[in-house]
């Protein structure tokens, strides 16, 4: 028996351990996944899946969709910054808001299309000035427009407001 053969034999045997561990891991995962019934995995309709995915925000999502004109693009504030600069309570509120905006952006697409930008209000005013009426989605904590020339509030709710900015 050559050294090469012995080494390869040993290596082959050594690989049996990670392979067996992998099979055990995969088996445990399949068994663990069984808590999600197959009926839930395959048969739920879109509305039910959406309701489960959005949980307490489901009504809010429906309200935002209803408030926006068809095929519209709305701009929301992009929350950015260093987490260490915020108080824990404020950080929690911002994190919840980021999660909400992600749900709104992703799951409502394309009615409406919601984009995030830093300085959203100024950006909306710039676009309006160039002749493109633009929607602004206001959420608590963001800079709120004042009803004035150019700004019109289309919808007001507890959790959000929808504003339209036009060229004066």
């Amino acid at each position: 028996m050559s050294i090469s053969l012995v080494l390869r034999l040993l290596l082959g045997c050594a690989l049996v351990w990670p392979a067996a561990d992998a099979v055990s891991f995969l088996y445990q995962r399949v068994v663990g996944n069984a808590v999600t019934p197959w009926s839930d995995r395959l048969t739920l309709d879109v509305d039910e899946k959406m309701r489960r995915a959005t949980r307490e925000n489901a009504d809010l999502l429906a309200e935002v969709r209803a408030a926006c004109p068809p095929d519209s693009v709305a701009v929301a504030e992009l929350i950015s910054g260093n987490p260490e600069d915020y108080e824990p309570a404020e950080l929690m509120r911002l994190a919840r808001q980021v999660g909400l905006i992600d749900q709104l952006r992703v799951l409502l697409f394309p009615n409406p299309i919601i984009v995030r930008r830093p300085g959203a209000k100024s950006y909306v005013e710039q676009r309006a000035a160039s002749g493109k009426p633009t929607l602004y989605l206001w959420l608590p904590g963001n800079e709120r427009p004042k009803p004035s020339a150019g700004w019109e509030r289309l919808h007001q709710a507890m959790m959000f407001e929808l504003w339209l900015c036009r060229k004066v």
């Binding site: 690989l15 990670p18 088996y27 999600t36 395959l42 309709d45 879109v46 992703v106 799951l107 984009v115």
Partner: protein, 462 residues
């Protein structure tokens, strides 16, 4: 019948079965023999089918969707059938069917069960978080829904990393086009099926070149590696891993059999590599250099200029893919912060400047990855030990061994990736934590084939 089941059934038909069937027709028309085996035909068929449909899909989107999207699956099914029938009647020479025993397929079936289970479980959730949503699905949605004049604005403000390649978003667009609207669940299906294609390809490659027992052991280890985390996600890492193995395997078979179809498939796969992730621009040259060096060292047979030029024409496929991506990014003024960061420093500059501070941390991370059995399953370090074992016997003859080409592809890529981490413009700990496991997956299948070949090789009957 429940609406959810109808939705999944239709989407599996339109975005998995039909592209696969179209691809099977295409690869058969390109010259792939029926005797190449079911696993190879299905895996290459799925890859090439989606690549071909993605090209047409992009044109369709650029032209403003000139015909209804449901015509895609219908036309693809008809085209696939016609191509398949044409290949059957064109009198391709038939050779004896590849000898394979049914039990060789058992490990493949065993590893497919958790993959399909994980996919079904994951699909309860919409594409909402992480790269699969914020990068890939977002880009697909923008391309499907946005007016041409709003596309630039939305790419920059709705999509994370809008400069990333287009194959994944175009595959998702096939599901949107088939359904006639944006989807939030079913668009994962065609991407998840690439995990199945990858496992089929690995199974075929390993059982062709190594003993079925070691092929099974390595297959199990791979299925329980980081692949288990990413097989169900609609990202592009499994796409790139699949395309890379497809390219490498096709080049090996071209050399072994001399059949031109493998050359063609290798370049299709190279195009797929470039179209799936930016890392493809590192992997394609690595594969090219490794194989060129191998053929040169092993003594390539002399070829006429005509032959060389005819073969070189297939280079247009990856070059065209790269050029299309370049034009896309130039048109919408999209750049990559890894290539040039916000302060204007290029990758090489950063690698030089940060080497002494970042290299130890990167090395430490990679060492921990290698020894952690739950993540690497010891596959990467085992390739090195196996190489030492082979060197003990073969010495300089290893230059003729295809296993060493795959080994070279694996380790050149790993070194390249580690250098990219050294030159990261982001926080290193964050970058390593979020990306390293995932991108090492790109070459893990190639490493697995190499490992199986070195430990218990099988003599090829070509």
């Amino acid at each position: 019948m429940p609406e959810g089941l109808i939705g999944y059934g239709l989407m599996i038909l339109c975005t998995v079965i039909v592209p696969g069937w179209f691809g099977v027709g295409l690869v058969r028309a390109m010259g792939l023999r029926a005797t190449s085996g079911v696993r190879i035909t299905l895996a290459y068929g799925y890859l090439v089918g989606h690549l071909g449909l993605a090209a047409v899909m992009w044109l369709w989107l650029l032209l403003g969707k000139p015909f209804p999207g449901w015509l895609f699956p219908v036309t693809a099914a008809v085209a696939g059938t016609l191509l398949y029938l044409r290949a059957r009647t064109s009198g391709q020479p038939r050779v004896a069917r590849e000898h394979s025993l049914w039990w060789v397929l058992v490990p493949l079936v065993i590893v497919l069960i958790p993959v399909l289970d994980a996919a079904a479980r994951w699909n309860v959730n919409p594409l909402l978080f992480g790269d699969e949503s914020l990068i890939w699905a977002s880009k697909a949605k923008v391309w499907f829904s946005a007016q041409a004049d709003e596309r630039g604005l939305l790419l920059k403000n709705f999509v994370e990393h809008p400069d990333y390649p287009m194959w994944n978003p175009l595959i998702q667009n096939l599901s949107f086009a088939s359904a006639g609207r944006v989807l939030h669940w079913e668009n994962r299906l065609p991407l998840q099926a690439f995990s199945v294609a990858l496992l089929m390809l690995m199974s075929a490659a390993m059982t062709r070149r190594s003993h079925p027992i070691i092929a099974a052991v390595v297959m199990f280890a791979f299925a329980g590696s980081t692949f288990a985390m990413w097989s169900q996600v609609a990202g592009s890492d499994v796409l790139l891993a699949c395309a890379t193995l497809a390219c490498v395997e096709a080049l090996l078979r071209w050399r072994e059999t001399g059949e031109q179809v493998w050359w063609r498939l290798a370049f299709c796969a190279a195009a797929a590599m470039l179209a799936s992730k930016n890392e493809g621009t590192l992997l394609v040259p690595v594969v090219a250099v490794a194989f060129a060096a191998h053929w040169w060292l092993a003594g390539a047979a002399p070829q006429s200029l005509g032959q060389v030029l005819r073969r070189a024409l297939w280079l247009l496929l990856p070059l065209g893919t790269w050029f299309a991506h370049f034009v896309h990014n130039s048109t919408y003024e999209l750049g990559n912060t890894l290539v040039k960061d916000t302060s204007g420093r290029g990758m090489l500059t950063r690698i030089t400047e940060q080497f002494s501070t970042y290299a130890p941390q990167v090395g430490q991370f990679f060492y921990e990855y290698c020894i952690d059995v739950t993540r690497s399953r010891w596959i990467l370090p085992a390739t090195l030990l196996a190489a030492i074992a082979v060197l003990c016997r073969e010495r300089l003859r290893v230059r003729r061994s295809p296993a060493f080409v795959l080994l070279a592809v694996t380790w050149m890529t790993v070194c390249g990736y580690l250098l990219v981490f050294v030159g990261t413009p982001s926080d290193l700990t964050w970058h390593l934590g979020t990306a390293a496991d995932r991108i090492l997956l790109h070459v893990l299948p190639v490493a697995c084939v190499s490992l199986a070949m070195m430990i218990w090789p099988k003599k090829l009957e070509v």
